[in-house]
Symmetry: C2
Subunit: 556 residues, 2 copies
């Protein structure tokens, strides 16, 4: 068979994948296994539908869903008592959550914050939604209005939807989370960085902190705005309303308070929605890691701000679970708690660091993308499970849609990478419907995992594969790349990438969505407005400035 014939067959096959107009177009690799297990999965799905229907009868509504996702952690940093000891701090509540539910040892994320969070919201690889780059201020970019989020889908199907914490989906109006399906959103448009500096005024007065020293050469400076200062970060808004900056300009003092406010908001949200007729979906993505902890507040053996942050996170999660039990809604509430990507290596050793795997945030090795993750749903998810099934952050989108009986609202005009993992949650180890993951860093396909094997695409050389293969069981830290035992895998992985790329040509990736920073903020500060105007004037094209205007993507 020559190449063009191969391609024709492949395209035919891809055509067959999206058979009906109303069927979800999955990534071709999932479609390939779906075709192998069609009958088996159909039967299992029938049983699951019955189980979910019985639960609905019992509780009078579909299940509540709480998705807790924190920053930058390695598998092993929480949830395993032996590793607590090794690391010098304790996370008893998360450990208990693991004992009472399901601990994942192969939960994959994207390798950085913005992409991982976009993946959770859209169920799509960040490279498909144009959200593959970590946003920093002032960016003038963000999540496109036409991306369909899990909040939009569940909201359209009757859920109350709330967001509290770190959004990091961009500083353009269409990306604001109250414009992306959340009834209520208290969200940051960037990461924690803006909090780590002082306000513009304090900065101008010459104040200094570790992250942003303000004494610099003034004598030889022409462009005094090269270093941007007038950041806006935390916004609050309700669906259909106007965003307002929350708690004023970001600075360390605000940051400390904000984390406590968000924990309180989370508990209040749960309490207020517990007895409602409709279920709720709450994304609590806490700003995490408090580098401003005072020495006298340190309690753990490891006297670092990171250890302090982990213990605080643990207490916070413990409070959420305890509240669900107090309100007697724990048997109708799925809680997923996880990190968004691997440790930010640059902050080690006082911050997060590698624990089991090699690799860190931004990295395509396991350490960059394989995170601690737990599922808790007493009475539904069996207790004391450790599952090594592959699952990814994208899968949560499709799984939450299934649990909310809203699969029919998932868009069918684009590729969805998220796989429905309800069977894994309900039926346990071995029931995952995923056996692969294409790992992108930025918009580069850097590695592909299939089953226990991994291929490092960066090790390609023309015409011959090199020591690009790893068996992740044999070589957990990816130290011993090998070739000879994997010659069978050369073409197997080549074909896998070919399928992936061909499908991507048919359903092209969305370019980065650009626009005017800070539009739609009711109480925008003057200095921030000027920073935005500078970007518009010198950087944005006419198309960028007019914006790629939002249009509702799910009929509501």
């Amino acid at each position: 068979m020559n190449i063009s014939r191969q391609l024709a067959v492949l395209l035919l096959f891809l055509g067959a994948c999206d058979a009906g107009a109303n069927e979800i177009i999955y990534d071709v690799e999932h479609q390939l296994t779906k075709d192998q297990y069609r009958d088996q999965w159909r039967e299992e799905d029938g049983q699951i539908d019955q189980a979910l229907e019985a639960l609905k009868q019992k509780h009078g509504k579909r299940p509540n869903i709480i998705h807790i996702m924190w920053d930058d952690a390695s598998l092993g940093e929480v949830g395993i008592p032996e590793l607590n000891k090794v690391l010098g701090y304790d996370t008893p509540h998360i450990n208990k959550m693991a004992d009472e539910g399901m601990a994942f040892t192969r939960m994959y994320t994207e390798p950085s914050c913005t992409p991982s969070r976009a993946a959770a919201l859209t169920g799509r690889l960040a490279v498909r939604s144009g959200m593959f780059k970590v946003g920093f201020p002032p960016e003038g970019a963000g999540l496109h209005a036409d991306e369909v989020t899990i909040a939009e889908i569940l909201s359209a199907n009757g859920y109350a939807t709330g967001f509290v914490g770190k959004g990091h989906q961009g500083d353009i109006e269409q990306a604001y989370l109250h414009n992306q399906g959340f009834d209520y959103a208290n969200f940051s448009i960037y990461n924690q960085y803006p909090f780590m500096t002082w306000s513009a005024r304090a900065a101008m007065a010459g104040q200094v902190n570790g992250l942003m020293p303000f004494q610099w050469d003034k004598k030889h400076t022409l462009d005094k705005k090269f270093r941007p200062l007038a950041y806006v970060n935390q916004l609050e808004a309700r669906k259909g309303g106007t965003a307002k900056e929350f708690m004023g300009p970001p600075n360390p003092e605000n940051y400390k308070k904000l984390m406590r406010v968000h924990q309180k908001q989370t508990l209040d949200y749960v309490r207020e929605h517990a007895d409602n007729d409709v279920p709720f979906y709450l994304a609590y993505w806490p700003h995490m890691a408090d580098p401003f902890v005072k020495p006298e507040d340190l309690t753990s053996n490891a006297s670092t701000w990171y250890a302090y942050s982990m213990e605080q996170l643990d207490r916070d999660i413990g409070e959420v679970l305890a509240l669900l039990q107090e309100l007697d809604i724990e048997e109708n509430t799925l809680v997923i708690a996880m990190a968004d990507n691997g440790p930010m290596h640059e902050l080690a050793p006082n911050g997060p660091h590698e624990v089991i795997f090699a690799g860190y945030k931004s990295d395509y090795r396991e350490g960059g993308v394989r995170v601690p993750a737990f599922a808790w749903w007493p009475g539904v998810i069996e207790k004391d499970q450790v599952v090594n099934d592959m699952i990814t952050v994208h899968d949560l989108f499709t799984t939450f849609a299934r649990l909310g009986n809203a699969l029919s609202l998932v868009p069918t005009d684009r590729v969805i990478d998220g796989v429905d993992q309800t069977a894994l949650l309900l039926n346990g180890e071995g029931r995952s419907r995923r056996d692969y993951y294409h790992i992108y860093t930025g918009d580069v396909l850097a590695a592909t995992v299939k089953q226990q094997f991994k291929r490092d695409w960066t090790k390609e050389r023309p015409g011959l594969v090199t020591d690009a293969f790893t068996d992740l069981y044999r070589d957990t830290r990816e130290e011993y790349g090998d070739m000879p035992p994997y010659l069978w895998a050369w073409l197997a992985f080549d074909h896998m990438r070919e399928r992936h790329v061909t499908q991507m040509e048919k359903y092209p990736n969305r370019p980065v969505t650009r626009g005017v920073p800070y539009e739609g903020i009711g109480n925008l500060r003057h200095d921030a407005k000027r920073m935005s105007e500078r970007l518009v004037k010198y950087n944005l094209s006419a198309a960028d400035r007019n914006g790629d205007r939002p249009s509702p993507s799910v009929s509501e």
Copy 2:
């Protein structure tokens, strides 16, 4: 205070340490903490004595002790379900042992087999007993008769003493384990290496295996004995009797059988001694890691001989614990199961590899010396404990002596490094009596751990300390050596080493004990005898040849 005055004070202090003629002379660092906690420990010891006496009344004898010690493993390779998943094999029995007893996360060993095993037997740093070098055939060296082993001590106090497995204490007669206190010993004099080759005859016939290829340049070879071939390894003997080679010349086929025979011997030993009037001490140090496993026998997800070995070890340990329960003696039997040192890195990725820490066998980083370890004693050791107290393999000597009511038989003419850790076993986390460890590789003091801090002595430079310090909680993999935050520790560690070295000058280390290989073997093969003679003729000094003859060191 000038240097000589400091030294005088130090010597006075050291003199004070061994006050009574009959008191154990501990390493000065332990003595220093002992002086700080004198009253508290005395009170706790009184309570422990009462508890042990009550146990004796209940069971009619002192407790049995089983010390299982296998080869070359990293902390995390067994006992933690999440890491089982990551590594692709299961150790359910050891995991259960951990759940039902105490898991140690800071059990330190010496960094290699011979030293660790000598340390367990003598309670002394291997550098003190001259056992700091890993023995390979034909060595002509081994454990000196004047070293006092835990088997000698317990035997003298009425215990039955048995040894099954890998001894690795040398090929000279005085080192044979039936001459070192064991009533019965089935022991190897080296490690597994001799099994990995073929017999001399097969070798001469040109056979080849992965570890010892026998086709080499014959044309240019003068000395045809440069590569020794006639190995003897596994011996069997009873106290007072003559050793015999067990199961014939070592080769892969024998090796496979031998491991199964040893497991059976262990179970038989326990069964035969269960109802005796006297308690038993059994060292079961299994030959481990079966590189000859057939593909069809592989059962784990990680299809390596190492994964197979771990699962086999797990089943074997499970059988031992089950038997104790079947015989109803589990409440009067302490079982310690642990590895002897870190992973043999050179065998990765198909063999053991680093899991949590950096470092491997022979290495002074944590990975070389911090091993999986568990204590199990239903009804006495509380279940489900994870303790991060420091404990070392040397401590088992003193602890076992205490449990056997034989502390008075511990020699008082030499330094004992082992600390009595009965309080930790019985009273749980925080009760360790050790907060330091001097880590030797060979006879080099390479690093010192005190509390959570570690100093790397190999990073010394004249006159100023460098980035030689690590906080093991912050930096589990010892990647970020640092100086400024540890300036307080420069002298604190200097003084610690000074104390240690000064005491060592007062109680000098024993030189390596050399002698004629294979003496005292009843059925010595002719080819092995000739290999021994060659070594005697060309290598041993007159003193070596006459031997440093054994004299009984504990009156029996």
